[in-house]
Amino acid sequence: MSVPLTLLGLLERESSHGYDLKRDYDTFFGRGKPLPFGQVYATLGRLARDGKVMVSEVGPGEGPDRKRYVITGRGATDVETWLTEPVEPEPHLQTVLFAKVVLALMLDRPAADYLDTQRAAHLQRMRELTEVKRTGGLVDALLADHGLFHLEADLRWIDLTAARLDTLADEVSRASEIARVKANRR
């Protein structure tokens, strides 16, 4: 999971305080592993240093949460590139793909197209491994098989997710609404 890119994606949706970013990250991507506040602010600091976010206002009082962060053009380009380009096909990608799909739905981007791009990249890698099996010895073939079975598992997840995008979009939208109501009560 890429925390900086995920935070940038959340900021593309709307400018936020660090506290709100942490809350949304934990809601959608934390899954029992909340992001420490220290990591949120350290990451935002690095993103600001690299010109990918900027501070739009600083409220009264003490503490880092006074700052409201806004994504810059450079940050938005990073998010766009990250979402549209497939991840290098290797096993155990589900969490990265999951983050991309959820963010794409939040940002009203074509999540189905991104999944197709990833599917094409996976199939290309599977073709290469199938060719290794065809031309190599048994040891190479068994190693290729190991990769093939894992890539196939990723592809099955992609297929299942693609088939459930509409339902997932509803759930993401509902969760965003609940988070917004909670934030307004704060």
Binding site: T81, E85, P86, V87, E88, P89, D116, T117, R119, A120, A121, H122, L123, Q124, M126, R127, L129, T130, R134, L148, F149, L151, E152, L155, R156, D159, A163
Partner: protein, 229 residues
């Protein structure tokens, strides 16, 4: 790329239910094309339209540049017999015939003499690692063996296009792999175009190119030039 077979904006409904809604796909001579998609997406219907088994309500199907969707049933039947080969999920061997008689069947239907047809069929038993199984009936063959006999039957008449609909769907991983190696190897040697319908990514990986059918439409999967981490 000059396509050997193509469907353009093909639509077909079964009663009120649309199966294809403007599907387009092409395959080049000698190409192995995987047609993927979830159950009920229309991928088998598309294969049946390309093979002249079904006639689309709308759209055009061409084989070697000629329209085949406008041909009558007998012409399409002759086309299927003479130019196309087929392999389905459950081999569909004729149980009353021996394995070699099953393989010889397309040649016999095409008018070949029995001795010549059986002699030609026997060659395929050697090519596909089926030596010694010629006189068995399908009940005496394993699933993998039966499917390779079905593959031999699909290729014996040296078709220009082989249509394979879930050819490994009823087999375990190893037997399925064996069938796919034989299928793609023989197709490469013969220069046969293969339209391979499958929902299994490992089977699709034997093809050079993939398309996905969703809700009766076709999306081409274009591999990225460069994959970034």
């Amino acid at each position: 790329m000059t396509p050997i077979i193509e469907a353009s904006d093909v639509a077909l409904s079964f009663g009120p239910t649309p199966a294809l809604r403007g599907a387009s796909v092409t395959a080049a001579a000698g190409e192995i094309l995987a047609v993927m998609g979830p159950s009920g997406s229309g991928k088998s219907t598309l294969l049946h339209c390309l093979a002249g088994i079904l006639v689309p309500d709308v759209g055009v199907v061409r084989f070697e540049g000629r329209r085949i969707d406008t041909l009558g049933e007998s012409d399409r039947s002759a086309l299927r017999r003479d130019r196309f080969g087929f392999v389905f999920q459950f081999g569909q061997l004729v149980p009353e015939l021996t394995a070699v008689e099953n393989v010889a069947l397309p040649l016999l239907l095409g008018g070949a003499k029995r001795a010549a047809a059986v002699a030609e069929a026997r060659i395929w038993f050697g090519r596909l690692g089926l030596d010694g199984l010629e006189e068995r009936r399908c009940g005496e063959l394993s699933g993998g063996q039966a499917q390779r006999v079905a593959l031999a039957r699909g290729l014996v008449a040296r078709p220009r296009v082989l249509f394979a609909d879930e050819p490994t769907g009823a087999l375990d991983s190893l037997a399925g792999e064996h069938v796919m190696e034989q299928l793609t190897g023989a197709a490469r040697d013969e220069g046969t175009t293969v339209i391979l319908v499958t929902h299994e990514p490992r089977v699709a990986a034997y093809a050079q190119r993939g398309v996905i059918v969703r809700d009766g439409r076709v999306t081409t999967l274009t591999p990225p030039q460069e994959v970034t981490a």
